[in-house]
Amino acid sequence: MKNIVEIKDLTKKYFNKKALDNITLNIEEGKVVGILGPNGSGKTTLIKILTGLLRQTSGEAFIDEQKVGVYTKSIVSYLPDRNFLYKWMTIEDAFNLFKDFYSDFDENKFEEILNFMELEKSVKIETLSKGMHEKLNLTLVLSRNAKLYILDEPIAGVDPVARDQILDAIINNYNDKSSMLITTHLVRDMENMLEDVVFLKDGNIVLTGNAESLREEKGKQIDDIYKEVFSQ
């Protein structure tokens, strides 16, 4: 199977601290992959390199066989771990911006998900709560028919109702032509959605594999494996 993401010997240093230490990782097309690790394990650093917000110190990263750049940005749909929309916008403005810039943006899908998330187009973004922000951002990101979705902590800090809606939206929009890369430290809530998991600890991959095989092999759920790996 074709790899949508190929990462080779990727290292990112801040001063002398290594946020990523020589990581090699391939992600197959059509897979939902979870990058698991506590805060500061390098998850966000990895994602920022893939989205072009950060430069690696050494090593290489390819998406759809291209170096990170304008092309990869056009096929990657990225949900940052913060509110990235312009403050002056209404939901409608954000919708127009996505429609203008991303040719893979699907208007009908947007209306559908927005409806599901119970959000109104006329609302100003500044007035949204944390959970609503997260829902809106995810709506925009999932409305693209992107080759690769990169979701950074999609359910961190949202209430249980919003969390369920977000998980549902992700599941509903799963299709075998695109891949998803999801970072999380809330493993219990997310693990059933993941096919492959990558455990990241202090910038190193300490464990990786198919989620079901790991459950079979260790006789444990991924959440329990996570606790075992990171409690040491």
Binding site: Y14, L54, R55, V70, P80, D100
Partner: protein
């Protein structure tokens, strides 16, 4: 790029219109006071003084606001959107630049026009418009106006690009640590260095082009002309080498800024 400019304008127009309204109201106030309080009351003086201060303050704030729109991309969360759009660094810088110029042009023109209108209304001196125009054209030719406007635009671009470059550079130095005001220090140093370079280039190749005739002349003939009083009105000549130099610097800084934000910034 046009698309991006659209959102840049949408995001700033309310502030700009607000500023414009404020400035126009203040100007109206000033003119009204001037026309009424001819004897120069204390309150009138204080009011005018304050208004002028506010006008200066507003001008500075507006300048910083427009220029700061670039800085916000580098430091605020909105950069997460801007820098993941499928745009090159040059497209982003170019959009910011054009929109900034547009605002300055609109503000400048609107305020200038308003001043003229107010002056005409409040000092109802019988002015024959065609007479006025012919008077103006006697002092300054159409060609000169075009050259002056082009010069203004070029200087504006020049300065904005230098500011953007300084901001981008200050963002990537010291491993992307945030240091307040560093960009201004970089801006001052670069301005100095560039001006020094420009002066030297001009000295080295002292050939000038007369913008009225497009003749190339050396400094000596130019001085000669000046002494003879041939070149009346505004001196319309520019050093060829220095002009090329400053165009080249502007282009380099522009591309450099695009490169920095596309390839170097760690958000």
């Amino acid at each position: 790029m046009i698309k991006y400019m659209k959102y840049e304008i949408k995001g700033t127009y309310k502030y700009i219109l607000g500023i414009l309204a404020l400035v126009l109201i203040l100007i109206t106030g000033i003119y009204t006071y001037i026309s009424r309080a001819n004897r120069g009351s204390h309150i009138g003086t204080i009011f005018i003084g304050l208004s002028v201060l506010v006008l200066f303050g507003t001008a500075l704030a507006t300048f910083l606001y427009i220029v700061g729109s670039f800085r916000k991309e580098l430091y605020d969360d909105r950069g997460y959107l801007t820098f993941t759009l499928p745009l090159t660094g040059n497209q982003i810088v170019g959009s910011k630049l054009i929109v900034a110029l547009l605002w300055f042009a609109i503000l400048g023109t609107a305020i200038a026009m308003y001043n003229i209108v107010m002056a005409l209304i409040l000092n109802p001196v019988e002015v024959n418009l065609s007479e006025l125009l012919s008077m103006v054209s006697h002092i300054i030719s159409m060609k000169e106006i075009v050259v002056i406007i082009l010069g203004l635009i070029f200087n504006g671009v020049n300065m904005l690009v230098l500011i953007y470059f300084s901001m981008a550079l200050s963002r990537v130095t010291f491993r992307n640590k945030r240091i307040g005001g560093l960009w201004f220090v970089i801006f001052l140093i670069l301005s100095g260095v560039i001006a020094y370079g420009q002066y030297n280039v001009g000295e080295l190749l002292p050939y000038y082009v007369d913008l009225n005739t497009f003749n190339i002349e050396s400094m000596n003939t130019l001085r000669h002309q000046l002494n003879m009083g041939i070149n009346t009105g505004i001196m319309m000549s520019t050093n060829i080498a220095a002009s090329i130099y400053s165009i080249a610097i502007t282009v380099i800084l522009f591309i450099g800024t695009g490169y920095l934000i596309e390839k170097k910034i760690d958000l």
